[in-house]
């Protein structure tokens, strides 16, 4: 188990180093395009109108409250008893469930990773 965790750390280290090197190796033309994209994005901030409290705000708030109440009622009707919301993707993804039940490697790795603050 120790070996597996060591190998995984080695994979993490080597692959990250390769990725970092490839980022650094980016060409000047790409950097220029990224700088233009960034300037365009920041232009959105510069040119967007500052919002002022408007007459339609109370109407909008009332409409939002109505929509929220409707959605809340729908969610209540659709909710399955006994399953926490954050578990839905775990239950929906069969592989995750299998992993937890069957894979002792994962449990050992997760414990090790938690101790290291990674994983």
């Amino acid at each position: 188990m120790e070996d597996m965790n060591d190998r995984m750390r080695e994979i993490e280290r080597k692959s990250r180093a390769a990725f970092d090197a490839s980022v650094e190796a980016g060409d000047a033309a790409t950097r220029a395009r990224l700088a233009r994209a960034r300037a365009a994005a920041l232009g959105e901030l510069r040119h967007r109108p500052l919002a002022r409290p408007a007459a339609w705000l109370p109407v909008g708030a009332a409409a939002a409250a109505l929509v929220a109440a409707f959605l809340w009622q729908r969610e209540e009707a659709a909710a399955l008893p006994g399953i926490a919301f954050e578990d839905f993707d775990l239950v929906a993804g069969g592989e995750d469930f299998d992993l937890l039940v069957e894979d002792a490697d994962f449990v050992a790795w997760a414990a090790d990773a938690s101790a290291d603050g990674v994983g």
């Binding site: 994979i11 080597k14 692959s15 980022v23 994209a37 960034r38 901030l45 967007r48 775990l90």
Partner: protein
Amino acid sequence: MEDGPVDRSATLEVPFLLGNPCAAREGSLDRERALDRFLAGIERRALRIARLALRNRAEAEDAVQDAMIRLVRRYAGRPEEEWRPLFYRILGNRIIDFQRRERLRRAVTVIWRGSPDDERSADPVESAVDPRGRPDEALEGEELLARIEAVLATLSARQRQAFLLRNFEGLDVAQAAVAMGCSAGSVKTHYFRAMQALEEALPEWKT
């Protein structure tokens, strides 16, 4: 695709509401400078990640630019420490959009031509470098990355995303969970699966 709750707080600068336009302008400039620093610091890594996910440079650049614009539009007013996971959530959604579009394009091409697409040299799995090739050779730099890319192409989208965000971008589990829109436990399992696949596909790492 919806990237999360839309935050309009950036447009409701408190000094402006208090009738101090100078302070509002200064605050807005500070925010713009902070966003510029953030985007400049993240853009090259984000582009590399998008290219690994999409395997298409032009689409990757479009996805990154879209993510920048959406972040600025929607989340500029959020605390700076939230920008990184939010940016990657938006970018992840854009990547999924591009992948769906590509699948649709291929499907339409097949229907139109009545035969499999002959121009599918871009198939990520078939055109990939064999990850099991030359195991005795020490892997360095671009070649190593190419083989990792080939392995990543065989993973599920969620596993690939977990690996890219956790290992390459260095997001912690909680940030990756925000970026992926799932639980921390799910991030861990997807990441572990990705690591297992890499370990199996790159046998020289087993020695």
